[in-house]
Symmetry: C2
Subunit: 654 residues, 2 copies
Amino acid sequence: MGLYLHDIPLSQARETFRNGLNQYGLNEPLQAELIPIDENAVARILANPVWAKISSPHYNASAMDGFAFFAKKSESAMVTNPVTLRIPEEAVYLDTGDVLPDWANCVVAIENTEALDENGKICGNVRNPYMIRIRASLPPFTNVRPIGEDIIATELVLPVGRFLRPVDLGAAAASGHTHLSVFRQPVVVILPTGSELVEIGKEVEPGEIIEYNSVVLGAQALEWGAKVLRFPITRDDFEQICQKVGEAAEIADLILLNAGSSAGAEDFSSRVVETLGELYVHGIAIRPGHPVILGMIHAKNNRHVPIIGVPGFPVSSAMTGELFVKPLIRLWCGYDSANDETIDAFITKKITSPAGDDDYIRVVAAKISDRYLAAPLSRGAGVITSLVRADGYTVVPRGIQGLDVGEKIRIFLNKPRNEIENTIMVIGSHDLTIDLLAEYLAKRKRRLVSANVGSLGGLISLQRKESHMAGSHLLNPENGTYNFTYIRKYLTSFGVDVDVINWVYREQGLIVQTGNPKRITTLADLGREDVEFVNRQRGAGTRILLDFHLEEIGLSVENVHGYEHEEFTHLAVGASVSSGRADVGLGIASAAKALGLDFIPLFKERYDFVISTEYSHTDLLLPFYEAMMDESFRASVQALGGYDVSSMGKQIVE
Amino acid sequence: MGLYLHDIPLSQARETFRNGLNQYGLNEPLQAELIPIDENAVARILANPVWAKISSPHYNASAMDGFAFFAKKSESAMVTNPVTLRIPEEAVYLDTGDVLPDWANCVVAIENTEALDENGKICGNVRNPYMIRIRASLPPFTNVRPIGEDIIATELVLPVGRFLRPVDLGAAAASGHTHLSVFRQPVVVILPTGSELVEIGKEVEPGEIIEYNSVVLGAQALEWGAKVLRFPITRDDFEQICQKVGEAAEIADLILLNAGSSAGAEDFSSRVVETLGELYVHGIAIRPGHPVILGMIHAKNNRHVPIIGVPGFPVSSAMTGELFVKPLIRLWCGYDSANDETIDAFITKKITSPAGDDDYIRVVAAKISDRYLAAPLSRGAGVITSLVRADGYTVVPRGIQGLDVGEKIRIFLNKPRNEIENTIMVIGSHDLTIDLLAEYLAKRKRRLVSANVGSLGGLISLQRKESHMAGSHLLNPENGTYNFTYIRKYLTSFGVDVDVINWVYREQGLIVQTGNPKRITTLADLGREDVEFVNRQRGAGTRILLDFHLEEIGLSVENVHGYEHEEFTHLAVGASVSSGRADVGLGIASAAKALGLDFIPLFKERYDFVISTEYSHTDLLLPFYEAMMDESFRASVQALGGYDVSSMGKQIVE
């Protein structure tokens, strides 16, 4: 940590950077440019207001297909007492939008006229007859769109700063404009560096890393309104990086130098910035994303180009995008970020934060019992899936050491609120079939968000109204029943009524390496000196199952190597075995099958969904009930291996 | 109306169209295509799920810059009892992300090591010393990112139907993918037709119409995910239109034929469709936008291409986009429209609807006292500014003749909810300075929405909690005071407390044509036979002022020609005079000045803002108070002409 040049608070870093930008006149929207009014103008920002040059309509226009005439002439017209008008002396045919003649002040719709020939007989030439007959009187200006009905010349049509939508372009054109003055889009050059990096599509060896940060940063910058240029990977070579940064500076408005911004052996970024310009900041007290660099490059062609050294970990990289790149692009493009969506939500899990850092925490959100809830996601800087799953982020400011369960936080959303409100929150025991259910629901306008906290954790989440339903397979060893003992204790006694619906019966057993090199066959083998076990976390149904059976065979947990090594899902247990960190774990058949591992079946257990009766018959959960009745869905569950779906959807009563 | 081939309900039209699409296999997402993972993949929709091909990390990786070793070797390490490890036999230096050797299972951060030379002395070669000393014991897997920490091979990374965001691209790349399978984007060809149309940028004559529907439709289609091709304007010529439609059909997935879809003299669209393919629907019972055509073109190259005949009025055109083009593009692209934002709101104005039509009504929305409120906008099919102002629309279904004030409606939003929640609703008397205030607020993250219903209507909106503040200049003729008489009657007696803040003093007078051809000089001239007057609506302060002074001079309203001709704003009164519909109106100086009309000043009056005390000291209104104290803002008000700002911001007490 102490190796960074600076390790300063976010606010100070921002101010330092802003001062640098100010010095070169870069802390304001880019110069305006004139662009023609066409579909590509959409989503640009107006640099100057649009005042109407002409009125719309710009003449008195017919609002109907029909005949124009002077209204007074119809004064006496009645059904029984028609009035006749000669063409073209007293009336003329107009299509919708045609100019009203000076002497006319109303239009009668063609379907309300009778076309007559020179003998006063009804004729077929309805648009150009000799005369017409009308049977009702019309007030002046009937079916006329007067000048300026829509837009009056001199009026403000679109204010400065307007985010241009399709209809805005129409209004600007209607009021006499051909071009719009919008802020220029910045050019962002992204420069990935690192000898360990390989381009997407190349075969990767251990130690090599697929370079995708530049794609994420590029896509972000594009979304925020910039033009994007990605350079190929430069290897860790000071001279080469200098050269590339120099090239970029001649064309870019902003340079993103990815990785090489910490203080490891091959981290050149700060030296490059110092060599080619000014280094403002190196290292910011935020999490994730410490080693951010902020500086200014002075290009050979006399341009001054801000540079951001982006950390290499994908979450840090994307968050640096959010925190530094987004505000700059938005500022330059003239965007108003006032309308970025935020919600206030209650946090479902305790968070501890380092007191000295602003801590940016990704969350997933749902609406339960009229409150928004937010569950914090994995906080590792390398875990890109936490970004994939995130609905937004919250900030624990420096000086605050964390947040308690139930505290109210502000979430900066990156998804529409309706998506959050269509979310079914499933908290509890992990099972691979939940992914299948998520797929099924996604096609039916529901999003399933699951958190794997074990069966017991799931019941407690229902008690706290933090989930809609919980997957649970809690064995009561004393009588061999599932779930109800725990439901009484953790839900009924708290006044929470639930339905219990069977999901599957599933096989639990030992997940071992392919070919079972350690020749593990029974639970008793977990006591062997040469066997490394991987466990599930406390409160997991599988952990309770294990403890029950270990006690049954008289094997003390102190004698199980790796008993303290906890993972949160069956797949994570499998991955531990697969990577060689462990030889064996207790888990479900489908996890072993998915990872190509061997499986020794031991037990068959019931896995239910416990559902708050508050939601069990709501529209939100309807597609979940449909899934259980859907033959092809059941078949897809069975195909995972080790599942019995014959009771799926059956309500279980004690 | 009876001239349309059909005039059928929306649901029936949709079904007929769907059947036609089904017949040619077009009622489903377009074929998937493989695209490389780069920034252009953003906002595309996954046609196939992404399952992890490889784990991420795909090897056990160092999570720190530091030394890897076997954890057990540090078991005895303490501050006072360091452990020494030889390089490279017992420990090796790794950068973050480097591969952990087989024989190591943890990493100590470089800053927690002491580098030693061969004599056991501290040395400067911190990354490649002879040995290192550590003073704390490390558990296994400390500072190691194990295989699959982020993504486990075989795991579902992104579900089918996923709207791709920047971080999703990173996750797909990290899990071993180079390409993504997404639904192909449709090509939409837009064909504007009409001899009266002129391209944007050409000088317009009376009777000519600036062709901008194609730009709005094109921008809409682009936003919804299509590729767009706009053809030049084709004039009203059956053969030419046939030829262009034929050309379009060879390349398009959807043809939008704009205008020519009603049954006027030069409306060829339905004949063209019948000639080149099948006409499914002509005329739908919706408002606005009756004469929609739905059909299928059979191209020379054997393609079957749906065609939509879009009505010419801009609002109808854009609504046809929303109702028919959007769902089709979304379906083809694989979008899930479940997350389109909707809110439930209370309507602030009675709406009457034709019982036989589905009525689409544009609204503007705000949040007041924790409820969303929606005010219906102008319903004319030609009024594109109603679309510019709209936050979304609501539907009054056929069979329902309208909605009462206070009824709950569902709004389909086209703006973020936060924009709606940052809205200051100003309902009441019209004044040109309100536009200036809106500009000022827009730069300060507030949106001002105003409705011009007259001073009295403004007070009633405050009573009903439908606005935050109201512009008011209600004279009590009996004592010459402003506003308080009415506030007592309409607010205080209903338990609504308000603050009254002076805005301006302004000049009211006669707005007459340039050069004053009718030589109007006093209010008495309104009684002349040759003078046509334009009035303000009932409840407008200006109307009350007029009535008071007419009575004073003994001129009966029956003797004022045009007294029944009502307009809702000063500018609209001015536009009436400007267009020749009227000779004179009573209004404010700035409206005359804006339109280049002559003005005969008569009275000076006080114009206040009446503000619910519930909001007067809220964050929402803060920038409004700032505006009144801002010298440059005051100057911009004065520049409009006829305003005295010396009391602006002063609280008025009775």
